[in-house]
Symmetry: C2
Subunit: 595 residues, 2 copies
């Protein structure tokens, strides 16, 4: 059976030492999140994840969700009680506004908690994750009355939320959607249509489900400019806030899918369901984008979280599994064989995963902190810089953390040999669960296009220039320190590759968009590597400074893992640059029929 | 529902034009395999795979194998009839010796047929695949009586075969195995023990199952030097060849695994089962190695085959799925959106898979041809050169074709967006099925160690030097041809990287084995890239020559795909070299507890 231990020490190192979040005491909610409070919260979150959520992960996968004949859905055994504990513990409202019952704490902290819960039980965590995403959209675009009606209940976990975008004929291209909304005399709408792939669409964890639904109002323009966003509760809410009649929305079936079986992924049928417009008519995508940014960072964390739990289990197995002898002579003579962790190829695999995980975690904290600044700072300039960062890094995080996170679960599974392929050890579940993160909330190819086609050129490349400037300044500041050279030298090389690639795109993609399309995925990966490398350089600097005052096993491991990243992973930037520079000619040469 | 069309034209191009197997008319069986006969066989094999085996792939996955209370195992609906068709069509004996009822045709041809069957239905194909592997071991190490008793029935598909190596405490390190064999007065042995992960261990497709079992004779030396190989039939065979009593071997349970659900992967319990020694006492690994080489090439083909069928389905979907518009303007104005194959990132993904598949197929044909030469030539020098090639390329093929083949199924699944994650389209099954090929028959990390630690240094590096010499000579011969420059220039660069890496290993790994261990996987991938690149250069030369006499869509696509490989995939050699040259210091620095 798989196990999990939340990486509290690593999160604390990032919050306290690397990003020093105590410096942000001027932001609302940050003074409440003092070091002591953070430690207590992380400790409780770890306990909940390790003791309540993780034990339900494999049973949830085996049992799955069941749609009953009356259209209700039963979640796996134990999920209901666990969700109650999550709700009552206030975990869904950790960084929600206090006026709606939340605790108003930094997103920086809630994303760390998020990682623990996803590592412990990804399918389960999605019920709460979707709820937080829907809450975010309501908070930004909902009317005061909508906020008052729905948000407190969702923050409390009494009700949950969903996002309804996809239809059979459209996922990426939402302009093709057909679900229709007919205006009623009382200002409400009647919604009719079919949505597919709706995570947490129907379940037994909460007494109401608040669906946010994209639909087209009768007579609206064709395409994406005629799409509006609606709130459609499963059970209608009376004026006094009590629950009223069942609305015309039902789960038609549960999708048969590769993983995340503990989450009910539903086909949702809307049949004259009553809904209310959120935000402006025909501007539904604005509201969705709020959810999407929130959701994309959450999905990035899913990649990291599955990579982390898979790593931990691979390490435990590699320490225990006795097989063969070390190439450099017997290591444990009293045993029939050495544990496989003596083998360089096993360590290479484990360090490859670990070196990614720790930098990915740093990148999440870094970006979550920018999210807090963007939403809470009084300084317009600070907000703009933070918002630039968010926009630029969201596709990179989503694409790179889920691609690499998935690949890492596969590598971790590989450490188990045949035992990784059978269900018992739980490793194949991590692979199946992690796979979805590369697909939903915008498939990773779309993230790459978003980066190259929108985020990079926006405002004359201001966000990317700021990032390049920050890395360059860091390299300059520490480049002469002998101990930092193993970090700064490869980082500078990698940054050079990214700048060359950016320059190539500026010269070659503006007039020929196919050059951007053919370069997009490699550019995203190149960008991610440089950002992860920068995280390592920052962490190494802090670790070296701390170690100078007295080293610890944690700090030593951190520095060795960082050097491994610099030696073995960061050099991949050269290949991405080479690929980008080949352009699109060969890629686009064949007719579609030739494939 | 997924579809499949066997790549007959591509196989014919390789057999007829690239490797010109008609030149090998002096080898037994090759004159029987004239161009006409090959065409007929490939056509029939395609038909069988497309029409009989492929339709059972998804139903086999859904239904799986069922162990009944009496220990018997029921395979999915349709498997029994399909196996009968395979057996009666003589497909299991295509390249088996004629004296045992086979057709004696080249392995070069039977491996091509093998690819078709695996693409169509991997789980199903394993029943026959294991049978052919067991037959090979019996043919090399069995007594004349053993061959006479078992081989004709196995070639005819009346009986099937298995390999029983793994036990709960050992897979890679077979010296740890505990299954015991007690000598009986009649020369037979009583075998007792538990074997796990036994593919096709029990089923209803044939009236007998011939288990080849590794066990330790009482009093044998400890470790691998005390391991012997036995033949243990499920049903004992009477002197007249008829079936007698049931033997003491039973299926204890079927493993719950990630994929290949149509194949019964069994825990096999041996309880005083009667067995007979194959080959010499305590030299069981010799017999197993025959099976393993056969099996490893077969597993390599599994990687290719799943990549191929996944590619075909991704292409079909990319041509049909309408979503968004081309970056360069509307392509199909009469439709609500363009098919996604207009997008460079989709084409990049598809070409990445295709460029691998076609070179991998060439590498399989190339190596299978060497297998034929090694086993059938009268010339000792030819046999030695071919055997060198086989030894060197087997781990490369197994490791690289299954790693990349799996990655390609994941990429192909990605083309479907959310539809790839649900079971309906069959893409997630390709991923789950392909995953096992990286693990069994020696996990890929073991293949890498086999390459670096054994195959490379063997006979003073003779095999590798021959390969380097062949590529160098080809590059020299065609390097001045203008049309070949896009192939020869990158190939020469990549070969240079491989030679540098080899030199680095010679200088650094002999005295410090950890440097070999830390380099092994990267060296294997680097080697594979160069070999695949060489295949592309050879194919390009032939395609160019043929195109000069009149080009065709096939030849044009071949040349564009080859250039894509050279531009986008082959440059990865640089990163592998860089990683190898970092050595093992950082990788080995941490204590096991620090992970």
């Amino acid at each position: 059976m798989p196990t999990y231990k939340a990486p509290v020490e690593d999160v604390s190192f990032l919050l306290n030492d690397v990003f020093q979040i105590d410096r942000y005491g001027n932001l609302p909610g940050f003074t409440d999140a003092s070091a002591d409070v953070r430690e207590a919260i992380l400790g409780e979150a770890a306990k909940l994840s390790e003791e309540v959520l993780q034990p339900l992960n494999r049973t949830g996968d085996l049992e799955g969700c069941k749609r009953n004949d009356d259209g209700s859905v039963t979640t796996p055994k134990g999920f209901k009680d666990a969700f109650k504990q999550v709700a009552e513990g206030g975990w869904l409202g950790l960084s929600a506004p206090t006026e709606f019952g939340g605790q108003g704490l930094p997103v920086t902290l809630s994303q760390a908690v998020n990682e623990f819960q996803i590592s412990a039980n990804m399918a389960f965590s999605m019920y709460g994750g979707l709820t937080m995403g829907a809450t975010a959209a309501l908070l930004v675009h909902g009317t005061p009355e909508q906020k008052k009606t729905y948000v407190p209940k969702m923050v409390a976990g009494e009700w949950t939320g969903t996002m309804n975008l996809t239809e059979p004929q459209c996922g990426t291209d939402l302009g093709l959607l057909r679900t229709k909304a007919v205006r009623q005399s009382d200002g409400s709408f009647k919604i009719t249509g079919t949505k597919i792939f709706i995570s947490a669409g129907e379940h037994d964890l909460a007494e109401n489900i608040i669906h946010l639904v994209l639909a087209r109002i009768e007579g609206a323009p064709a395409g994406i400019k005629g799409v509006s966003l609606f709130v459609v509760p499963k059970v209608l809410v009376n004026a006094d806030g009590s629950l009223g009649q069942r609305n015309g929305v039902t789960c038609g079936s549960i999708e048969h899918k590769m993983g995340i079986h503990g989450n009910s992924t539903c086909v949702m049928n809307y049949d004259n369901a009553t809904g209310w417009l959120i935000g402006e008519e025909n501007k539904g995508m604005q509201g969705m984008f709020v959810m999407m940014n929130e959701a994309r960072l959450g999905v990035a964390v899913q990649g990291l979280a599955q990579s982390e739990v898979a790593y931990q289990n691979a390490v435990a197995y590699a320490r225990e599994r006795l097989q063969g002898r070390s190439l450099t002579g017997v290591k444990e003579a009293d045993k029939p064989a050495d544990p496989i962790i003596v083998h360089p190829d096993v360590r290479r695999t484990l360090l490859t995963i670990r070196a990614f995980n720790e930098a990915a975690r740093a990148m999440v904290v870094w970006t979550a902190l920018k999210s807090d600044v963007a939403h809470r700072s009084n300084d317009p300039k600070d907000r703009q810089v933070a918002d630039d960062h968010m926009g630029l890094m969201t596709p990179v995080l989503k694409g790179v953390l889920t691609d690499t996170g998935f690949a890492n679960t596969v590598s971790a599974q590989q450490m188990f040999g045949g035992h990784g392929y059978i269900a018992e050890h739980g490793m194949e579940q991590f692979v199946r669960d992690a796979r979805i993160a590369m697909i939903y909330e915008g498939a990773n190819g779309i993230q790459a296009l978003d980066l190259v086609g929108r985020k990079l050129p926006r405002d004359g490349g201001r966000a990317a220039m700021a990032f390049f400037g920050e890395v360059t300044a860091f390299a300059k500041e520490h480049g002469t320190e002998e101990a930092m050279k193993p970090f700064i030298t490869p980082l500078s090389t990698a940054l050079g590759h990214l700048q060359q690639a950016t320059g190539w795109l500026m010269q070659n993609a503006l007039t020929k968009p196919d050059n951007a399309g053919a370069a997009a995925t490699d550019y995203m990966k190149l960008f991610g590597l440089v950002a992860l490398g920068y995280m390592w350089a920052k962490m190494a600097k802090v670790a070296q400074d701390k170690a100078a005052a007295g080293t610890t096993p944690y700090l030593n491991t951190k520095l060795v893992t960082g050097r491994f990243f610099m030696e073995r992973l960061l050099p991949e930037t050269a290949v991405h640059l080479a690929r980008i520079q080949t352009g699109s000619a060969t890629t686009m040469e064949l007719a579609a029929e030739a494939f």
